[in-house]
Symmetry: C2
Subunit: 234 residues, 2 copies
């Protein structure tokens, strides 16, 4: 079987969403981690929504998903520090791994900016008065095949410079703890370990490029930059 077609009688996005929802329910435990959160399915970002489907099911159908990822950092004198979260040991995906200060999927019908502000509140207790300063800085993309899952993600990247005295506070139980570490220390963890949730590596590497920690006089600079940007950001 090379592809699956939707029945031609399913004419509206709502009809399709409903029908596919029934199929996903029938698939039962083949698709673990159902979140009851609908993701829009489009040809590319901002285009009309063909239908929506359960977030956990998207990679089983090769559906592209969009998210927002934010590096929260602090400047002390000449040095910059990154706030790094450790995921809860009971989180369904990537338990116990290192994470950004704030990240989340982009649900249907909310702007990127509103979503990052919402996630800032839920994941790190950052008040709107601060999170409204989160600055969009680009996007990265990656693909990942694992078993029956074909992940195609585009992450909108944000930077937020935080006051030195701000301490994050997780409010939804998804984060075990937060630590503030010097940027070169975070770079070393990425280089030498697999502690970070894999997609966070890319967003931090993008940060390292934009803030001059990886610079043109480093060997292999353009190769790494080109590789980071080779994903399908559409």
């Amino acid at each position: 079987m090379e592809h699956v077609c939707l029945h031609s009688l399913l004419r509206t996005p709502e009809d399709r969403t409903h029908a596919i929802g029934s199929v996903i329910k029938r698939l039962g435990e083949i698709i673990p981690g159902i979140r009851n959160e609908l993701y829009p399915v489009t040809s590319s970002f901002g285009m009309p929504v063909y239908f929506s489907l359960e977030r956990a099911a998207a990679p089983y159908f090769g559906i592209k998903a969009y998210g927002v990822h934010m590096n929260g950092y602090v400047e002390k004198g000449d040095q910059k520090f990154l706030w790094i979260g450790k995921r809860s040991d009971v989180k369904q995906t990537y338990p116990g791994m290192l994470d950004h200060l704030v990240a989340g999927g982009l649900p249907y019908g909310i702007s990127c900016k509103e979503n990052i502000i919402k996630e800032c509140g839920e994941e790190a207790g950052i008040p709107r008065s601060i999170s409204t300063n989160a600055t969009s800085v680009g996007a990265i993309s990656y693909m990942d095949i694992e078993g029956f899952r074909y992940k195609r993600d585009v992450l909108f990247c944000y930077d937020l410079k935080l006051p030195a005295n701000f301490v994050p506070n997780n409010e939804d139980g998804e984060v075990d703890s937060f630590r503030l570490i010097p940027v070169p220390h975070a770079a070393n963890i990425i280089r030498r370990t697999e502690f970070f949730k894999p997609n966070c590596n890319l967003v931090i590497i993008d940060f390292l490029f934009r803030h001059g920690y990886i610079h043109p006089d480093c060997r292999g600079y353009l190769d790494l930059l080109q590789s980071l940007r080779s994903g399908d950001c559409s």
Copy 2:
């Protein structure tokens, strides 16, 4: 004739550089604007130098060239301003057009960082104590065919945040005047006019992405980002 070969007796980079230099001299006025500045010819950045050739001749042979481009900006409260130069009316290339605060080709045997510091001094009178803070933020690439010239350029991009009271001062006669303008004003000039030297547009658009002036909730965001990154950065 599909390609030109170098004589097999030319075994060292110096031999080749000398032989090609003679050819370029013979070509006379076919190649205007000779600068007596040698550019290294490599397969990609940082690789062994096969030979060097006159900077003005590089596009006539389709040779990739590398440069450094710097956006100098000032922060006043929540607003950012860009220092924009107007090129001298007697400059050989793009006379009278708008330009970055500092930009220059990357000659043989100097690091990108040293080059940007040198150009900061020559082009804008920025002392080393300030220019050493210039931060590498990525690279962009473009191709341009014009008459017999096939330009293949990779520009290493830098940001430099300047003190509010700093006023640039051109020291090599290449700049007519400087003006400090709000970032959205610079964006409008790019959108509506052809006043900027063409490659500067790309470096400023990259700045607009990284500083949140072009953001994911803008229509066509990913298309423009993907297009900006589609060049051959090698």
